[in-house]
Symmetry: C2
Subunit: 225 residues, 2 copies
């Protein structure tokens, strides 16, 4: 770092934004908030806000998420810092984006502070977004797909016990393509990603399906595709 | 993003830092500058400095690198943004770190602006570093090793034509372990990472070694180990 007197430099504002993905109703969804203030009042945006002068970036991300959407206790990962000089019409704002995969069932959404609504939206049918949030969300989707192919991150979207059909469905939804059932199962088993549980899923219409549980830590690196 | 009036928030300073790695004299090296100003005057640090209010983070990183070290035309990748509130003794400074792998032969280093010296240092024998730069450099090394194992980034450290021994050496130096020659060659060939050229390396002491060139784009994802 250069050693000039820091006070001589005009300072930018710094924000955090949080991209939360979930799979719900057989669709990949992202959490958005409806803005209650200018700029972009009444438009949908990624939850986030200004970093306080004495809090870390990650603490700021967690605080904004909780304040605006009532979502808490999420494991966040830093995604990328977006610093285009013109990305905010007010002033120079640099934003550190975080992202996470969650099980939507765990949360009771509630809009508060400076947002008037909060909801899950299909990644494949997004409303117009404030600022450069479309670009940020698309970057997050790229990272998510990459992580799906090279790590065990998919498990974070499943209950503790799941069928192989459920696991395959998660992949198909996020990668937005259908996968061959036999090849998929062969790969999952060859990589020892899951282990059998001595239980079956009760379903009226089908014969009971074997339940599995994860055999690797979430996020571990394995080349799935 | 929250929609409060941005001017109501106390703003942090924002810097960029650049971690440049090279392999030189059979060692993994990182580029450091000797500070000419307080704080940490006379200590070694990663090159970097304050982002101007109207320049992008990446432009700032390139400018600081050029100003302080005379290194130019480097492909930079964003590494991570470090925002611990106490990481700079002066004031709140958030830094976006960038990193790159370069061929050291291409550059003529020259210290200028606010640094009094610039040099390559062994990653395995670093001097004490200013700020939290040790943590940043260690994080960069982790990322570098990860990229070596999962991408073709190693090619950026080699001349256009190289022997398989040179390629293996790059891996051994960065991963800091020796690799089995037969297994290494089998993997490289199975993954079709390289292709033969109709030339041999001239070396007096050994029989001539076949030269290869890369068969994949730099940074392409392949699971090497």
């Amino acid at each position: 770092m250069a050693g000039y007197d820091a006070s001589k430099f005009e300072r930018p504002s710094v924000t955090v934004d949080v991209i939360l993905f979930t799979v719900k109703d057989d669709d990949l969804k992202v959490l958005l908030v409806k803005r209650n203030v200018d700029p972009f009042k009444d438009m949908w945006a990624i939850p986030g806000g200004f970093v306080k002068i004495d809090e870390s970036l990650e603490d700021a991300a967690k605080r904004e998420l909780l304040e605006e959407t009532n979502v808490r206790d999420v494991y966040l990962e830093q995604l990328y810092t977006f610093g285009d000089p013109k990305r905010d019409p007010r002033t120079r704002v640099i934003t550190a984006a975080y992202f996470a995969l969650v099980n939507a069932e765990k949360f009771k959404l509630k809009a508060s502070t400076d947002v008037k609504d909060v909801n899950w939206f299909s990644m494949f049918d997004l409303p117009e977004l404030a600022f450069d949030h479309k670009k940020i969300v698309e970057y997050a989707l790229k990272r998510l797909r990459w992580k799906m192919e090279y790590t065990t991150v998919a498990f974070s979207l499943l209950p503790e016990k799941f069928t192989l059909t459920q696991l395959q469905k998660i992949y198909e939804i996020i990668l937005d393509k259908s996968l061959d059932k036999r090849n998929f199962r062969k790969k999952i088993k060859a990589l020892e990603l899951v282990k059998e549980v001595q239980e079956f899923q009760e379903e009226v219409a089908h014969r009971p399906a074997r339940l599995y549980t994860k055999n690797k830590k979430i996020g571990e690196i394995v080349e799935i595709f």
